[in-house]
Symmetry: C2
Subunit: 330 residues, 2 copies
Amino acid sequence: MDIDDLATRILAGERRALARAITLVESGRADHRSEAIALFEKLKGHGREALRIGLSGTPGVGKSTFIESFGMMLTGQGLKVAVLAVDPSSARSGGSILGDKTRMERLSRDPNAFIRPSPSQSHLGGVARRTREAIDLCEAAGFDVVLIETVGVGQSETVVAEMSDLFLLLLAPAGGDELQGVKRGIMEMADIILVNKADGDLKTTATRTCADYAGALRLLRKRPQDPQGFPKAMTVSALEENGLQTAWDEMQSLTDWRRETSHFASRRAAQARFWFEAELKQALLARLEREPMKGLVRSLGHCVEEGIKTPSQAADEVLAQLEGRNMPVA
Amino acid sequence: MDIDDLATRILAGERRALARAITLVESGRADHRSEAIALFEKLKGHGREALRIGLSGTPGVGKSTFIESFGMMLTGQGLKVAVLAVDPSSARSGGSILGDKTRMERLSRDPNAFIRPSPSQSHLGGVARRTREAIDLCEAAGFDVVLIETVGVGQSETVVAEMSDLFLLLLAPAGGDELQGVKRGIMEMADIILVNKADGDLKTTATRTCADYAGALRLLRKRPQDPQGFPKAMTVSALEENGLQTAWDEMQSLTDWRRETSHFASRRAAQARFWFEAELKQALLARLEREPMKGLVRSLGHCVEEGIKTPSQAADEVLAQLEGRNMPVA
């Protein structure tokens, strides 16, 4: 692969080059990894920065409709919009929440939009790196907004929040005054809660639900990265395309404030450090899954099970093996 | 330290030698660690096996009173009883749940009992290894029963359950029919739930609470390591020393069944493997906290924060450093 040419074409905003580069970073092959590293070396210092918006919402809240309406509004204003997905379930199901582009038919045909299905990966760690790198590639390709979509499953919201500048929680109108069992931890990550389906029969319910969430948000501890009035809850109707501009205005005013107070930059720095450490730990532990360590761990595991060695003795033996070949014992 | 002599005296059941050996395994010093490893080498193959009983209960349920009454009953039957503790809070408070032996005044004076406060350690991983090694030492010293006490905080129950043959949950009588907010995960670990304080005014409440827990236990998925009727809930009064013999009979019958069906041995084997892998991972990650890696991680962390390197590039660099000195890249 001609990495120089690929880099040039990405910087020129060519969608096919971008798609090809994302496929490259998604690959597990060692030679592809080397090419990906070389590509990022070429792209370094392009100086472009997209607004990274994380979006979580369980199936049924109208996430695709929201992304389509919101995305079309942004492209209509001349902005370039990329949509990526983190879907921890895709590895199991073989499917993907964005695999079916017909879900966002208009947006997927829009020349200023780029939609990429979530990669099928066996673990969230792998998905996380590939998504972060796909975000970087979208920035290099000159996209203004990168939407990172996830479903409300397990740890995926935390992963997406750790790679976003803004985190949106899309919720449906709820019956009664219960808060739909939204976990406190998820609520604490949200910058803006959007209660969707504020249209037709559900409009009143949506308004009441929004007030409930607004009340719940006020009970949360104040975060230093929030100006007065944030986090906030708002109603939208993705179907009728209502409230989308107001929501976007709020996102921009929040972002402007964070840029001015340098919270924007410091959050990105903290996120980069977080991913550096997470990746390092994961890679270190992965050595135990590769030969020759894998075989040693397996055979010592049997010794431990049979009581021939204590767990500590066996652990020390693996470490001695690693350190003996490697580095002086500290 | 004369390790040969120490081993001989532990095998002779000398309490002072046992206490000294536990202090040795609790030490963080490298020379102490070498001596501890040498000690376990000497003790290997003593062939003694205690019944390891994990016991969890939040403050106020009468845990000390239970341990004292239950322990005195066992020593009265000629059994030797050791009491250890896993207390994740002791590192923070500087105190310890068993630090004050006056809590168990009679038991602590009993020549057939040995009570050891929980070590003050900064993390549960360290506490876990030291507690497991203390259990091994108690077994070598000929104790018949080792009680491992913990408070219901965070991960400590899981840690204790992973080093016990039996896991007891001590609970107080509850008002109403709510189950005191006992987490499902904790409930699933229990072999026997003991509702304490079945005496005086609380007797009726205790009986009803016990029935509630029995109902809740029946709803759990059947585990292969349980005979008919287990896990079960029972009432006891540690204060009036009622129900303790019945509880002990149930523990013995459960243990007998597990021994006959080889679940006892296979559980110990699985636990040993669990701790081997846990310790190995922890030790591997600890290398990042030591020089020269610590300094490299720190400086690369700054590069990542400033955007000079991507998280993946920086992680690869640390790994290359580790592997370059160490082992051929797999």
